[in-house]
């Protein structure tokens, strides 16, 4: 049915809000990144100098390098652990829903909450290190969170712990959709279980792998809360990510144009990951009677 006026009237406030507060604001921030805005905004065009300055800043280079480490390990870690958990759960086990619930509960919690728990757990003066000493493993040392070179790996650990259950749920949905007849045929042919996974089941999980990748990649670029709660970007600036850089330069260091430029680059990184995915998902859709 063609949309009557009332239908358009109901939809238009949302369209307007999204147009202004998402795309309009993106355009505004994009414009700011080509100005010389500091604490006060100026709207005069001043060329790409904020980007030039950004590229020369050690804090930005460090943030991007950290994101590279974090995103790679986070995606790979969650992918492997999530797939492993999904396969374990899919073995017709007892208490399946209990296990599933335990692996997934961190997703219900704020990163600030879990970050607080991990912060003290990984603190060598009271956390895990002390516990290991208490059970007699005296040489155990785990002070990464205080080490400039290693703090970023603590964030990886906590983030993988938090999101692996989600990836498990994604893969589990995929596994449950695998064609049972093909699997049975392979079993009757005498193929070993591992071979069946490798040759028959995993190749059918293409869609789950793509979804998991896109979601994890975009989450890693947006990661902010966990870093704030766990290390607050420290020691020093050692565990900064672009999201922290943006906030610091915009709101604390009063370099708004540089902060805006960093936000634009974050958006572009996400767009590269997400747009092909959206085009794939929306192809042939959006036309409903």
């Amino acid at each position: 049915m063609k949309a009557p006026l009332i239908a358009k009237a109901v939809l238009s406030p949302s369209v307007l809000l999204i147009a202004v507060c998402v795309y309009g604001y993106i355009a505004f921030t994009g414009w700011l990144s080509f100005t010389a805005s500091t604490m006060m905004t100026t709207l005069t065009y001043s060329g790409p100098e904020a980007y030039v300055r950004l590229m020369g800043l050690n804090n930005w280079i460090l943030s991007v390098k950290n994101l590279g480490i974090f995103a790679t390990l986070y995606i790979v870690g969650c992918g492997i652990l999530g797939l492993l958990l999904a396969v374990l759960i899919d073995q017709k086990i007892r208490a399946e829903s209990a296990f599933r619930s335990i692996f997934l509960y961190p997703m219900a919690l704020s990163f600030i909450v879990t970050g607080t728990a991990w912060k003290w757990l990984m603190d060598p003066s009271i956390g895990l290190e002390r516990s290991m000493h208490a059970i007699g493993w005296d040489s155990f040392a785990f002070g990464w969170v205080k080490d400039s070179d290693l703090a970023i790996y603590c964030i990886v650990i906590a983030a993988v712990w938090q999101t692996s259950g989600f990836v498990m749920a994604l893969f589990l949905a995929g596994l449950r959709g695998v064609d049972a007849e093909v699997v049975n045929a392979a079993r009757l042919d005498g193929a070993r279980p591992w071979r069946i996974y490798q040759r028959v089941i995993f190749p059918q999980l293409g869609a789950s792998f793509i979804s998991a990748f896109v979601i994890l990649a975009h989450m890693s670029i947006k990661s902010y809360d966990l870093v704030i709660a766990l290390t607050n970007g420290g020691p020093g600036r050692a565990s900064w990510l672009p999201s922290l850089f943006m906030y610091q330069y915009t709101f604390t260091r009063n370099e708004m144009a540089v902060g805006a430029a960093s936000a634009v680059l974050m958006l572009i990184a996400i767009a590269i990951v997400v747009i092909p995915y959206i085009l794939r998902e929306t192809r042939g859709e959006g036309r409903h009677v």
């Binding site: 604001y25 296990f99 335990i102 509960y105 219900a108 600030i112 607080t116 208490a134 936000a263 009677v289």
Partner: protein, 288 residues
């Protein structure tokens, strides 16, 4: 039935060993939060975070709730906990209602450019919010909503519409067309079709939307940290201020109790309705 030999039993033993190992690993931070929230501070400092408490005390919970210094005054988490509810309840209700109407319009009527609207809507749920922080801060200032709970409600509604619309759109897209057609034949107009036919059949997706939005809004930190002040901090910002304030003695037990209080509402929602939580995750990700 095959015999229970070593060869048939050991893979199951290995399987359950692995599952239990991972379950303990996943439960560990929650366990640490709980047991250390009921220990005296000396006991935590003296030793082992994994250990069961020797001496049970609920003082840390009391401190975290009503005594800890977060804002200007030592009020504990209580006012911020209330702020979060004042922010989440209208935020969830408004964004879910708008999402239901949008989903209805987008699926039951033909539009020019519906394709484009849908793609733009879907992209909006992925954007890094850093890209909107500066102009949104200015907008809230102009509207005199900077540093207020209603300001946070507005922000969460605006950036929640994308999710809720997608939930309802995908749900209504699968709604039986014959029912809609026959209701129209009977003369049902725009509102009656929605109120009498679609909405009464939307129970599950309404629950999914409410849970998803509640979890997202309650757990938000970035908007809270950017757009609130001492009087309007949501609980996540208050918790972070408590834990990361550099002054004074680090009261780990109070921090753990505070973290647990901050996490309790979403954890309760998860335990009570895990099935819908998972559905929301899936709907919010796999199918835009």
């Amino acid at each position: 039935m095959s015999e229970r030999t070593f060869a048939t039993v050991w893979p199951r033993v290995l399987l359950y060993t692995l599952l239990v190992f991972f379950a303990l690993l996943f439960a560990m931070p929650l366990y640490v939060m709980l047991v250390n929230s009921v220990k005296p501070l000396d006991e935590i400092r003296a030793g082992d975070m994994m250990a069961w408490p020797h001496e049970l005390t609920f003082q840390p919970w009391h401190d975290a709730w009503s005594l800890a210094q977060i804002g200007v005054q030592a009020t504990g988490l209580k006012p911020y906990f209330i702020n979060s509810f004042l922010m989440a309840i209208p935020g969830v209700a408004i964004s879910t209602a708008i999402g239901a109407l949008n989903g209805y319009v987008l699926t039951q009527f033909r539009f020019r450019g519906a394709h484009v609207v849908f793609a733009l809507l879907m992209f909006s749920v992925f954007i890094p919010f850093q890209i909107v922080l500066i102009p949104m801060a200015r907008t809230l200032g102009i509207l005199h909503l900077a540093g207020t709970v209603p300001g946070l409600v507005l922000v969460h509604v605006v950036y929640g519409i994308g999710f809720t619309t997608l939930f309802f759109r995908n749900y209504y897209a699968a709604f039986p067309g014959e029912l809609v057609r026959s209701a129209r034949m009977d003369g049902a107009g725009f509102w009656r079709l929605f109120w009498r036919l679609l909405l009464p059949n939307s129970g599950p997706i309404i629950v999914v939307s409410i849970i998803w939005q509640f979890t997202n809004i309650w757990n938000d930190f970035l908007f809270g940290a950017s757009f609130s002040d001492y009087s309007s901090f949501p609980i996540t910002v208050a918790l972070n201020n408590l834990v990361n304030s550099s002054t004074g003695v680090k009261e780990y037990n109070v921090h753990f109790a505070a973290a647990f209080i901050a996490g309790a509402p979403t954890l309760a929602v998860y335990i009570l309705s895990g099935k819908y939580f998972v559905r929301g995750l899936m709907a919010g990700s796999v199918k835009g």
